[in-house]
Subunit: 341 residues, 4 copies
């Protein structure tokens, strides 16, 4: 079977695994106090161009969203997200579980427009009843979005400006950040992300690690006792080394960028093939997720040899599906898929 179902089908990049192997019997302090965590943090801060950042490692994405959001919101605040945002739709209520509402805005290809945000915030504070409502305490965006789309540098700057005006932090979910930064057509760098966002995370799970996300607080704004809040949410690893060593490897010799590019190169090739063969794209995504409309018959036929994701029914005869590439996708598999399309 050819696997294009998602970007977490394999284990870790070989260099990452290699480092785990090499360091395995080294005796290290627990809970992230080891020197690999320290080294990884330094490398990430440098890559972000943000020497004063605070970097923390957390095991998974939903967990990271839950902890960052709940530790930064005040009790009566909620987090603003696109109605398609991962925190709103596919995290089993992890945010509400911490007592906070997800306040949803209409999206455009998975993105929140700065003007839509501004209007909403303006209306909120204008409403005479707003003290009976959930206060907006943070803006959550994903980049790439759940549709694989990307904000431009200008759009991030505008969102950041609106957030600043209302005194609420901008948080970027970078579960697939590597693929966003590696996209051909983006003008956004990691340094831009660090500049425009108050907090964001660099996804490891979907970009070469067995697990792990690196949260970056960029404005000397890490909540007091953050480590204790991580523990309280059950997310503090005894062997914090597992995350530190992996991120240290990913941020050595630009490995994170390099392996991210593989997802883009293979996705671009796949898109080229799809375009040539006349497939209809559901959305124009510049990253590693490709959404196309298939005739149901074709879809069933492909399923014999390929694993991919159902996205949604288009009509009686057509279905939108998703093909995802990753750091691990082999071009030869793309060509095999191309042959089947």
């Amino acid at each position: 079977m050819l696997a294009f179902e998602n970007d977490y089908s394999e284990g870790a990049h070989e260099k990452v695994l290699q480092r785990l192997l090499e360091t395995n019997l080294e005796q290290l302090p627990g809970y992230g106090a080891d020197h690999y965590c320290e080294s990884a943090k330094e490398k990430i801060k440098e890559a972000c161009g943000c020497p004063d950042a605070d970097v923390q490692f957390i095991v998974g994405g939903t967990q990271t969203n839950q902890i960052v959001i709940s530790s930064m919101l005040k009790p009566c605040e909620g987090v603003i997200a696109a109605e398609t945002g991962h925190v709103s739709t596919h995290e089993a209520g992890a945010i509400e579980c911490t007592g906070h509402k997800v306040l949803t805005l209409p999206h455009e290809a998975g993105k929140i427009g700065a003007d839509v945000l501004d209007d909403w915030l303006h209306s909120f504070y204008e409403d005479e009843n707003h003290e009976h409502m959930v206060f907006p305490g943070m803006v959550y965006i994903s980049h790439p979005t759940e549709y694989g789309t990307l904000y431009t540098k200008g759009e991030l700057a505008e969102l950041s400006a609106v957030c600043s005006q209302y005194g609420i932090p901008l948080y970027l979910d970078g579960a697939r950040l590597g693929y966003g930064l590696a996209a051909e057509e983006t003008d956004v760098t990691l340094k831009d992300v660090a500049e425009y966002c108050d907090v964001f995370y660099i996804g490891g799970t979907k970009v070469g690690a067995l697990c792990g996300e690196a949260v970056v607080f960029t404005k000397e704004n890490m909540p007091l006792h953050f480590m204790t809040m991580v523990k309280q949410r059950g997310a503090l690893l005894a062997k914090g080394r597992l995350l530190g060593i992996q991120f240290d490897a990913l941020f050595t010799d630009d490995l994170y960028s390099e392996i991210s590019r593989n997802a883009i190169v293979t996705a671009d090739r796949l898109k080229q093939v799809l375009k040539e063969k006349g497939y209809e794209f559901y959305i124009d995504s510049p990253t590693n997720q490709i959404f196309v409309t298939l005739e149901n018959e074709k879809m069933e036929q492909l399923k014999q040899n390929v694993v991919f994701s159902f996205w949604e029914k288009k009509d009686e005869d057509h279905t939108v599906v998703r093909f995802a590439t990753s750091w691990a996708t082999r071009m030869e598999d793309v060509e095999k898929l191309a042959a089947l399309l």
Copy 2:
């Protein structure tokens, strides 16, 4: 430096790591739906003598306690624990964070007596005001306890009987279960644990894995939608394989028991040395944690070459410290420590 600080200073047992390496590029479904998870579950059920058990893998111990307890309690219930219980003292309020109180009982060497439990439950229901109080909804014990002590089979049976009488589940925290089962003097087997407990977990983090705990529901009592609750607490790994492959390795050819024995053998040797040299034991622990009273001068001297844990001040001149062995402890290091004592 000789490391006797805890039982999570190294990475994973080499056979565990080896399996991660061998399977690394295999493309597998996410979220624990892979065949390694399946295989590991089967092996664990067999080891427990409990073919109808439900087994689930969770990343860490505090997380496991939080999820098991909060998913099994009703809203107005709390969990009973020894006042020294990990959930009560060292989990940063992870249980309360889910809305539930930890109801503490006096302990004896870290253990709850069945009679103490029975008396407390009896008094609770006799109290006319009990509807204004937190209802007892579960009993939490750790085995080995935080002091390295062990319940006997008879004690487990008695606790189980009291719990049954009051209709509340008995939950055993097995963060160090391997070391408990491998102790020379125990009469408790894994099958006994499965028989007497309604739910328990087999610790991986402290017994040979990079991370991971295996929760076992023994009485067809796994809460409905448990996986969704795991997700909601941020604990569902995209690469569930990471846990499945490790536990599959640990439960192949009895590896879990075998490596657990190393901790016991090395601890026993260390205890023998300490006894011979006239050190005073703070508590009589049959597992891998050894608590002794040191003269402060001796303690400072040892610190030059050995890492160990401060436990508590005894008096002005003496301190209780903990030495821990593990699956990874080398006998040669014990002998080196012996020479220094």
Copy 3:
């Protein structure tokens, strides 16, 4: 000033207050164990035609919603509501505060259609990813709705059937139930509400009481230890008599129905005047809330003598406002308002 701002501008109906006065120095047991609570419960059960119902008194509406919903949902479940539902918009996140998501459906004049509900539930369970999503655990409707509209008996029956099919309870927020039952054009009786809903509450705060709502569990489905959950949410009154005596008065000699009719009669007169004078209705509401579009100039002029609620901007020159009548509205005030319109 003429007060048409809301239906809680006055204290309590004189007969209710009279009973509080008469019973004031009677020494009664606390926490709702007094005979007035008992008597009120019996009268309510009879009025509902539901002798096996469990009735509980709670101080306020948001509190009632919070406690009923959180005590009936399982941890990974959310409550379905219209996107205009009070629990979704104007309760400051009281539901999310208990860890549960409000799952919103599109509304029609504040109502949820049985077909819309059915489609949503069907799609939810069809979605392969639904284990990563919040499970629907209850349906919340308000009757009258936030727009003053009413379900028909047939619509309630259909909603009830869909809920039954999916095994989730139907909960009706009756903050203004009296006004709904007293409406000219409704075919819904209190007995119908009790038949079709699994749980609902009869609003006192907006219908003649100082405070208080009566929750009715109709299907022997009151959660175990409900009183303790009420206490845990801070909602158990030491002087439970305050609620019992008021509801006992409201359900003596049909007082609740009688005073509800006053709101309808005065609202109907006001609607007649508005119609005659050519005002445009924003929505066709058969109860005590009247939504009309005013020219801004007219609105400002009215404000000199009348208190009413801003609802929303219609366009640059027009505004939707709400006039509310209540059990306490005097017809002479309606006529005065009529003269000003």
Copy 4:
């Protein structure tokens, strides 16, 4: 039957009820924005000698504790209380329900000693593992305590100093504050309470009101959006007037102090009788709660004519019981009880 069971057996003081009656049909804005709330706040601030205080009215005591504590604590903090503190024992886990642990200290007659507190806080921060524990974020005391005992002015000053040193607020639960201030032997005034505490509440429910507690933030430290948090916890009354009018009456012409004295005078007479008749006091309480040890035979005999509270079994033949007086206790009833003793 003679009622000495508790201090909430009657409704409201006649002057309080009278004001509710007189103002009943006045049309007032909702949610505490009425002029009676305003007036009551001013009177309370003056009585406290604290013109900059923020005063808020909440319906009940457990609710007040829950909201004050949860709105002032950060996510990883708990509240310190005596192990006998109401928040720890008899509030059905209302604090834990908001995600926060109650950290208990040993008590002396219901009180926390400043030295005990200081030692605990010192040890906490000295513990190397304290980042894995719940941080102390507030100190909760009750005055009078659950045993009817009182802090001296000096003791409050010392507690306040320790709290200041560690940067955590001191919160005083004044459910029975009136009775504490009216005690013969106290040197604590309301102004002292306002000076030494960062936040406290003046109990209405047990001192002459139908319901209601007045929270006083004394150090310009009311949490931002406090009203929204009150709403979010379901505690915001639509008819906020109910609380404002009652407290306005209670703080007019020193009514609160005057009616509190009645409880003390009647309790003192009862204590005198008990002393004369040779009864053994369980604890020496200077307020309205009297704890005595009765022979079981005597207890059963008294039960024929008197309602009082069971406190605890002393031994096979003796029981500790509580007699409570209140603002409503009539001296003639005390004399009747005296005759029966």
